[in-house]
């Protein structure tokens, strides 16, 4: 598919402080890419640079094969959805949605038709004559989405659009945005600090930290093969430990626990490297009889309903979080119990820094 957005070494600095280090990114037509990261990670800066609200300090922005670095915001043919909806309070819902079409001097009949079509897409054709303030937050954001897509912009930017809504509504709208994206094949660049939102909605996640792109990958890969300690820690619960490399793909975790065939391990023998193991990938057994296991003691048991989280501590003092499905037949884990841990080499993720592409 054709490339919709290309960022070439795009950079933003305010005097001495660098808000965005040189960044490259390519977004394909019809893709849903999420900028995920904590506040101050540079995701909003990146969005504003693409929107044209701020000018980059260096680098180029290409949209649909056109260099738009010097093009003012109003000629970039973009759509945008804001966290606070940004609907015009002095216009009716229909006038709001018609706004971008009116600017383009489309014929009246066409405007009326397109506005109704857009309102139907967000299931709100009956509120056309109302003012935005008469609608609920969720309805207002639906109208804002309708307004952003009514003129078929080449790219729709969404800046934490569900941030002001409560959880239930957020989930409903996540689903609706996703559906609209699939039906209309829109290209979307979505900003959020909510990892779940990023995992459910995106084709690709672009994880940002301290003004840099930490990793760009599809959700599954981002979760199962994080490239850095930050990526491993930001998405989901993770156990990050340091292990000694003993050979090609071989590591030693504890005195009685060694693994070989760890995928993607590039460090040389003798080095100590950070690796990640997800809590649900760890097997837990009572006692310490078995071969090739890590001996530990239960420190804390948190019953969460369907799953139980256990915090265990190894002889070397390393803590692991272990997640298990709760079974009624379980004897019941208790603090102080001796246990043994094990996991497969394929579940060990070396955090090498640079992602092997």
């Amino acid at each position: 598919m054709a490339e919709m957005v290309r960022l070439d070494g795009i950079t933003k600095a305010y005097g001495e402080t660098v808000a965005l280090h040189p960044t490259d990114l390519s977004i394909r037509e019809g893709e849903f890419v999420t900028l995920l990261g904590p506040s101050g990670s540079g995701k909003t800066t990146l969005l504003n640079l693409i929107a044209g609200s701020t000018a980059p300090s260096a680098g180029e922005i290409w949209l649909k094969g056109r260099d738009v670095t010097q093009v003012p915001a109003n000629r970039r043919e973009l759509g945008m959805v804001f966290q606070n909806y940004a609907l015009f309070p002095h216009m009716t819902v229909a006038q709001n949605v018609a706004f971008p079409l009116t600017l383009r001097r489309r014929p009246r009949a066409e405007i009326r038709r397109e506005v109704m079509r857009a309102l139907e897409l967000v299931h709100l054709p009956h509120v056309a004559k109302r003012k935005p303030r008469e609608l609920s937050g969720g309805q207002q954001q639906r109208i804002a989405i309708a307004r952003s897509l009514v003129y078929n912009p080449s790219l729709i930017l969404m800046d934490e659009p569900l941030g002001a809504l409560d959880r239930k509504l957020r989930e409903a709208l996540q689903f609706e945005i996703k559906k609209l994206h699939e039906e209309l094949r829109m290209t979307v660049l979505y900003v959020t600090h909510d990892q779940e939102e990023a995992l459910t909605m995106s084709n690709r996640i672009c994880l940002m930290n301290e003004g840099r792109m930490e990793q760009v990958a599809p959700p599954q890969e981002m979760y199962f093969r994080p490239a850095t300690e930050f990526a491993a820690g930001f998405l989901g619960v993770s156990n990050i430990i340091r292990v000694a490399v003993e050979g090609r793909g071989a590591i030693r975790v504890g005195e009685r626990f060694a693994l070989s065939g760890v995928p993607g391990l590039t460090a040389a023998p003798g080095e100590v490297v950070p690796v990640m193991i997800r809590p649900e990938a760890i097997r837990l057994a009572a006692g310490s009889a078995a071969e090739n296991v890590l001996e530990a003691e239960v420190e804390d048991v948190v019953f969460l309903g369907g799953v139980t989280n256990l915090v265990v501590r190894t002889g070397q003092g390393e803590r692991f979080t272990v997640r298990q499905l709760t079974r009624r037949s379980d004897a019941g884990w208790q603090g102080g119990m001796p246990v043994s841990l094990s996991f497969d080499a394929s579940d060990v993720v070396p955090l090498n820094g640079a992602a092997p592409q």
Binding site: A51, A73, N74, E77, F82, F88, H90, P100
Partner: protein, 265 residues
Amino acid sequence: MARQTTIEERVPSAATRLIAWLGYAFLLMPSLVVLPMSFGTGTEFDFPPKSFSLDLYREYFSEPSWVASTLTSLQVAAASAALSLLIGGLAAYGIVRYQFRGKKLLTIFLLSPMLVPTIVVALALYLYLGIARATGTTWGLILCHAVVCVPYVIVTMMAGLRQVDRNLEIAATIMGASWFGVLTRVTIPLLRPTILASGLFAFLISFDEVVISFFVSGVRTQTLPVKMYSTIHWEISPVLAAVSSLLTILSLGICILVAALQKER
């Protein structure tokens, strides 16, 4: 918007209310005295009037010099309100929406006519108009009034502009609106109550203005307050009571209108 009741919004006690009403009475007394007097008869100020009539109003409306100065005042007030809206509005837009060197200094400079004693401003304007050979002209008077109206317009417009969500302007821009398009389709419509309110204020300030007008107006451009002032000097006529009452009603009307506009926002 839902309003929240806070601890500060308690019902005032009887004593507080009494003090408040005494304050109002003190402020309103002069106007309240003038109003009955304006319905009197004869050739002298009478309070309380011995008989009621509309003679004084009739006299005011039939005397060409009163009518002429009223028209001059209305003209000058309308024009200087429009002019100060234009200047003050643009200044406020620049100050609120842009970052530039010397912004604070410029703001203080623009507001300075509010801080300098009126008589000083009046004298300065008199000298300037003298140099420009514009003393006694209507447009000279309009310019002078605009000087004192602009600061008030700037202050109200700045407050109004700060209320306009920046995201609305950004949203309009991204959807394809030019700077001018954003201004005319988004910013100005949202500022409409503020624009009307500050325009009305400017109108009122100009209409009431006496010190500067006294310095710079000529025989043909005598405004209503100047005419009233000179009337007191030459022939103490009870028509003044009628004029004052009309002025009070006009001011009151405008103030109520402004209050209503502010509520609408």
